[in-house]
Symmetry: D2
Amino acid sequence: MIAMKKSEKKSAKRLSTKPQEAKAWGGRFSQKTDPEVEAFTASIPFDFRLLPYDIAGSLAHARMLARQGILTKTEGRLIEKGLKEIRTKWEQGKLHYTPADEDVHMLVEKRLRKKIGTAGGKLHTARSRNDQVALDLRLFLRDQVRALSRELKTLQENLLATAQKDGGAVLPGYTHLQRAQPVLLAHHLLAYLEMFCRDQVRLSEAWRRINRLPLGSAALAGTTFPIDRRGVAEDLGFDGLAANSMDAVSDRDFVLDCLSAGSILMMHFSRLAEDLILWSSSEFDFIAIDDAFCTGSSIMPQKKNPDVAELVRGKTGRVYGHLMGVLTLMKGLPMTYNRDLQEDKEAVFDALDTIRQSTRLLARMMPRIRFKADRMKEATTAGYLLATDLADYLTTKGLDFRTAHRVVGELVARAIENGKELEALPLSFLREIHPSFGPDVSRWLNLEASLARRNSPGGTAPGRVRKALHAMEKKICRTDYPF
Amino acid sequence: MIAMKKSEKKSAKRLSTKPQEAKAWGGRFSQKTDPEVEAFTASIPFDFRLLPYDIAGSLAHARMLARQGILTKTEGRLIEKGLKEIRTKWEQGKLHYTPADEDVHMLVEKRLRKKIGTAGGKLHTARSRNDQVALDLRLFLRDQVRALSRELKTLQENLLATAQKDGGAVLPGYTHLQRAQPVLLAHHLLAYLEMFCRDQVRLSEAWRRINRLPLGSAALAGTTFPIDRRGVAEDLGFDGLAANSMDAVSDRDFVLDCLSAGSILMMHFSRLAEDLILWSSSEFDFIAIDDAFCTGSSIMPQKKNPDVAELVRGKTGRVYGHLMGVLTLMKGLPMTYNRDLQEDKEAVFDALDTIRQSTRLLARMMPRIRFKADRMKEATTAGYLLATDLADYLTTKGLDFRTAHRVVGELVARAIENGKELEALPLSFLREIHPSFGPDVSRWLNLEASLARRNSPGGTAPGRVRKALHAMEKKICRTDYPF
Amino acid sequence: MIAMKKSEKKSAKRLSTKPQEAKAWGGRFSQKTDPEVEAFTASIPFDFRLLPYDIAGSLAHARMLARQGILTKTEGRLIEKGLKEIRTKWEQGKLHYTPADEDVHMLVEKRLRKKIGTAGGKLHTARSRNDQVALDLRLFLRDQVRALSRELKTLQENLLATAQKDGGAVLPGYTHLQRAQPVLLAHHLLAYLEMFCRDQVRLSEAWRRINRLPLGSAALAGTTFPIDRRGVAEDLGFDGLAANSMDAVSDRDFVLDCLSAGSILMMHFSRLAEDLILWSSSEFDFIAIDDAFCTGSSIMPQKKNPDVAELVRGKTGRVYGHLMGVLTLMKGLPMTYNRDLQEDKEAVFDALDTIRQSTRLLARMMPRIRFKADRMKEATTAGYLLATDLADYLTTKGLDFRTAHRVVGELVARAIENGKELEALPLSFLREIHPSFGPDVSRWLNLEASLARRNSPGGTAPGRVRKALHAMEKKICRTDYPF
Amino acid sequence: MIAMKKSEKKSAKRLSTKPQEAKAWGGRFSQKTDPEVEAFTASIPFDFRLLPYDIAGSLAHARMLARQGILTKTEGRLIEKGLKEIRTKWEQGKLHYTPADEDVHMLVEKRLRKKIGTAGGKLHTARSRNDQVALDLRLFLRDQVRALSRELKTLQENLLATAQKDGGAVLPGYTHLQRAQPVLLAHHLLAYLEMFCRDQVRLSEAWRRINRLPLGSAALAGTTFPIDRRGVAEDLGFDGLAANSMDAVSDRDFVLDCLSAGSILMMHFSRLAEDLILWSSSEFDFIAIDDAFCTGSSIMPQKKNPDVAELVRGKTGRVYGHLMGVLTLMKGLPMTYNRDLQEDKEAVFDALDTIRQSTRLLARMMPRIRFKADRMKEATTAGYLLATDLADYLTTKGLDFRTAHRVVGELVARAIENGKELEALPLSFLREIHPSFGPDVSRWLNLEASLARRNSPGGTAPGRVRKALHAMEKKICRTDYPF
């Protein structure tokens, strides 16, 4: 993937102030574009970032034109050299733009013509900005999704390492934020690992839909030149061609695929963040996040806040918003390309930056969390977490589950009245509620035994969880998608 | 798939007014549920629709419990018989509910216990409503997505038939709603067919994610009973098991997968609808929709409105809204099941009803549209649609594309001044603008030739489009997913 | 407000199966509407609920027509009598519909014509369904917003009563879910009361925008009949006229105003719900919600879940979704009425039902919550909540706040190392950290003193809070809007 | 309002690379913040823009502290001088930041302490970043909403001028994008002016809710210092105080008010844009947008695209997205400040930039649109736009409206069969359909007469529209809100 941030930033600095040059499309126009319109419609402030992808696409296009004899070999070589020089300048942060450059495509073409003269004007043969921008965006997102997938894999690995290291701790599993049944920490963390596996699949599906070549669709109807689309697709590593030119220039499904997959991913992150925030509270006190991942208060000297988790949770809304924004902009657009489509880029750029940053931060933070096994265990001793076990016990004595459930319910009510936990109730007390209770009940009112008994596939029994960790290890390794 | 609408409606009618029965979970509680709370929390008014799926799941669960010896054979048989009778009553519209029944699971269990006594209380052994509702919803959505996929296939077939029958018409292709280049109607319609092919893939991906068995996860941590999850999965036709119990009871990704895929599908529909609405206007006048698919005005006697297309476009917002609603409700939920999750159902039910109805209506309407080839062709004669061809022509004379573009741009400006179309300009006029124009230019200023020349893969040349129609026919036939 | 639920439900039952009657707009049409189209486009299944508003509007319209001599007095009387009979039937649940009735307007007109013959056909003079439905929806929402405002007032009163009764309890105030500074429970609850006051203002603003008469705009351009719009506005209690007919028939701002205000209201509810859920957890254990407002688990006998709060939190997404849905449907609609607009109703109906139900449930639940003042107070004794006071103390000794903050920060770090709370540190220990600490520091390390010192306007000092409660009482009483 | 763009940009350029300085809150922390965490949590890259507001707030705070004797007069003067110098540097683009500066508040404080020493550390007495950032954002939005309101007023004025100049043109009014009835162009444009008047009211309501002082709430519970909040409120021009400190530091309703109002405004813009795009098409051809407001195609030399309108329409999604993003981030946040709230800023900044830019562009573009009155009029001659008049005519002959509607409906059907417009049908033909037609019918089949007859309040009759234009002129002048 192409490094870009540095040059982008540098470039934004020195905006050229040259008088407006003639537009490439200006032949039919009798007046200059209004400067505010120019600023309003210019995409160069954000699509400048696409430059290396634009050039990669142009190189492949030029090579093909030369192969097909649409350009002479000399023209082809000239263009190739020129484009590479422009890319180098961009990489060095020495390429600058003004709003009058409109967009990255025009910027590159203008620089090229300045460099190599007329031959530069031939590069745009047999293509349009409509198919060109679709190509650039697909090349960019291919890289982005691939990078995100790798970063997510790192998060999975770190989370797995945590589960392997600290996962033996026992804590209450919650439903409705009420203590429900004891679970292994590893089991809890594996739930998130499962989510991330589904996210990986979603990313790979999006990737596959991205990876189709739109170039050659030209403005909307194809081109009159004898081009070789398959050759370009091969050159650029695409799986195949976008099959219909009108669809190809107005299709943004692949952007929505990224945003949908990203929204679900961020939703998963927001849930993990919520758990971490709860666990960091004095009330839960299950974890301590490293100082390096927290910040303090400007007024309250004692505060140490789980800011990273909070921001990740908050940024979920941001990504949802971008999804909603692009869905809205696409709604009701007639065929084919409409300028509204330009609005797709900032949304998907910011969404991916946000998602990738959140992914990396969570990956870095996981190993810096200290899990307080003692506090977790303590929390399992209050709240009647073994009530279900007791009901199950009664079914082994022949009660149907509904009756067993009611009996234990009443028992819990009585225990609450008496301010006691189930383990603390004498057998005689139990037998008053129901005669089926026997001395063997103590074997069921035991944390370790309770865990061990949940030995169904997918359950929290230590043996099961051990196997699940191994299986997850393999699953993560296999995360090795078409890219 | 199980027909359900009729019985649902019937049942909603006669709400029983019996005094509140004891809750299955009431053992621990000392007070009755407040009746407004009961109404507020009850899901039975909407999940009643899930009854056949609930029973299918319970049948498989009971069979497994019997196989594993957790139930006796007799109990198993009794339960099976009882459940089937309940299902029959539901199918006949004779099963009724009150809010006190809470949800479809409790309704079925209560009826079963009434029918077969204690054995009915054993059905809930080794499961919880948390995994049960996840199962029901997956079974339901499996059917829904499969049905939608078939209905979409019908729409594809009808649209393809239209393209094959009427697709030879030539109309302007538009960008920015400005006439751009001439295209074949078939080419335009194929763009939508491409979109629908991607939708089919998305549906199949969602389907695959739906098709994992959550049952056996119990409340959140697995169960202490020696269950056989794989057996149940096989019995119910699932591809595999949800691997982690905590994830399984709180995972709603598969709902979001349906809503994401559905939102993109509706977006495609909204674009098709927009085209149909534009084409129905007096200004475009490219199509006439059959009277049977239009409605009139209560005040303006002459009106005939493309209501179906408008409603489909409007309903896009509805489906987006449901996606946003479920994304929002999932945001920041801690592990595991939280009652908020109950809100997933009405959203996905209404979304799928909306999408399926829209799909069916569009499928029915397509063959009832008359395409006015004359009007379409007429529209291609104004608006300088062959300007790109003229620029391409000049490149064959050695001009670079940029120069050629500028020359033709000026030519168009001059033509507008003179109120003439390009075809009507004498050669002398052209040569004044640029000497490269020769008498062979007339071969380029020709509609049919222009179409024929756009012969690149994906282009609108008649030969290409013919092949694309064949390829699409095969693609649609292959739409024959895991289901 | 008009009771409607009962009759609605009854009516939905017996769908007439009569053959399709001629449409009111059918003159120009040569074919019957396709039955699926009829079902797809019919709004009667949901706008049937608007019937009393439709009739109220028609009565006012008919009276005006008679006053203006457009109807004879006899015709006016006949129509009035007929409409009232239809309303009575509806109230009794004896009015039924079929999809062929299209919408509530056509249903009423058809019944009227059946009842009183030709004169019934004159009611629609000088109006269109376009302005009629805008009127009905405004009348309906006027009632709904008024009712919601009253229900919200009840919630405010109940919350205030709680604050007055239990508000003396001291609990940790939180930022970042970390204990921050001690606050009075009343102060915490007053924060929500402030939010609800803003909600009331928002509702009243929406109400004012709703309360403009659209009738008389006819289809889109006004009418040729000599109508008296002002008279109708007065008759129906509107503040004024929608000033432009084209705007009036396509304006749905007032729906969006309701949905925006409602979304923000639900967001507030979701925050209150979150606090209640946290406080119900074993970890916080600050409150006990009455059994009547909780439900249990089908498998875990000990569970008691704060379902109402969870569902309210979850339903937030639902209302957001409706807002997004209507915003999307309005986006890019050209002038004037488009059939898409029909989609506004189900969204706003469901949103208001949801919001009102949530409001009522929270209002009922507040008095049924037991606040555990002991547990709350206990929570203030750990977590260094008085650290800010200590920094403030040091500034009274001449340190600048930044230095004071750093000193106390280090003190806290040392206290954590030593496993002690600030109050437990001997003065010598404090003086080691900084010599400015004196024996008077103990007066600052005191919970009551800390509260009392936060005596700035808006602060949590008991005296301030007492005044704030009084002020809030008056504010709530004044909630007595234009309606 | 404070000019800021220039200095912002300049500053972003030269990022200092100094080693991390100690955090103001670092006393309790034993480790440095991780640099990626610093970058992730830093808000300085976007809240740097708030600097002049931060300083305005700090100046008022310092003045108050000095008045109250919490600072000495000298300290007060020193701080004031220092802050003003920092502001000057910012205005000159000479103030720079690094991510280690965290946020604009810390940046200012650090620079101040560097400048004036210890006294700088006293500025933060009696406040927290929690109330400070709420203040800054309110000051910023107060300016923004005021500026937007003025820009919207300019758009209203320009649109009104257009309506006054060109509004006499007659064009078809549309429903369902079908020609419905003739209207004056001024009448059509007045519909948008009505929308914008509602937008102005919404902005002023938002403004009023913004204009409450949160400062003095400190971290969450008020402060122990004897501050004077009312004095600060007066100094900064606030209408009053945020009444509850816990609410004040976590309230973002005012942000949502801006985003809701802005979303509805953009929805209106998207509808205007849609009309302009349709009217620019060859098919409608009702307007010509000045070259200066259009752009061309890189491949199709004849293209002239209404880009501004398209982008405005597309940007609607962007603003909706921000609304949804902030609603989502607020959902379910417990009391009080949570770091998630930091995410509000970029959303509301970008939304307001987008809305204001769109407003200005539309305002500039309106006077540069040429309305083609001839083309508009031509469009009214086909499509049976006078059919309603004909039905109204028949009611003057004693037919009830329903019968009249049916008669004219049939007439239209026959006219279509005969390929004729209504005006072209001989009286004998009319009388065949219904004997009530008389020779006076020709007076009704006349465009001007039809317009003139729609003389009800709000209708399109020229006299009415003239009055409406005057009324609108006054309404716009009165747009002169609390600010």
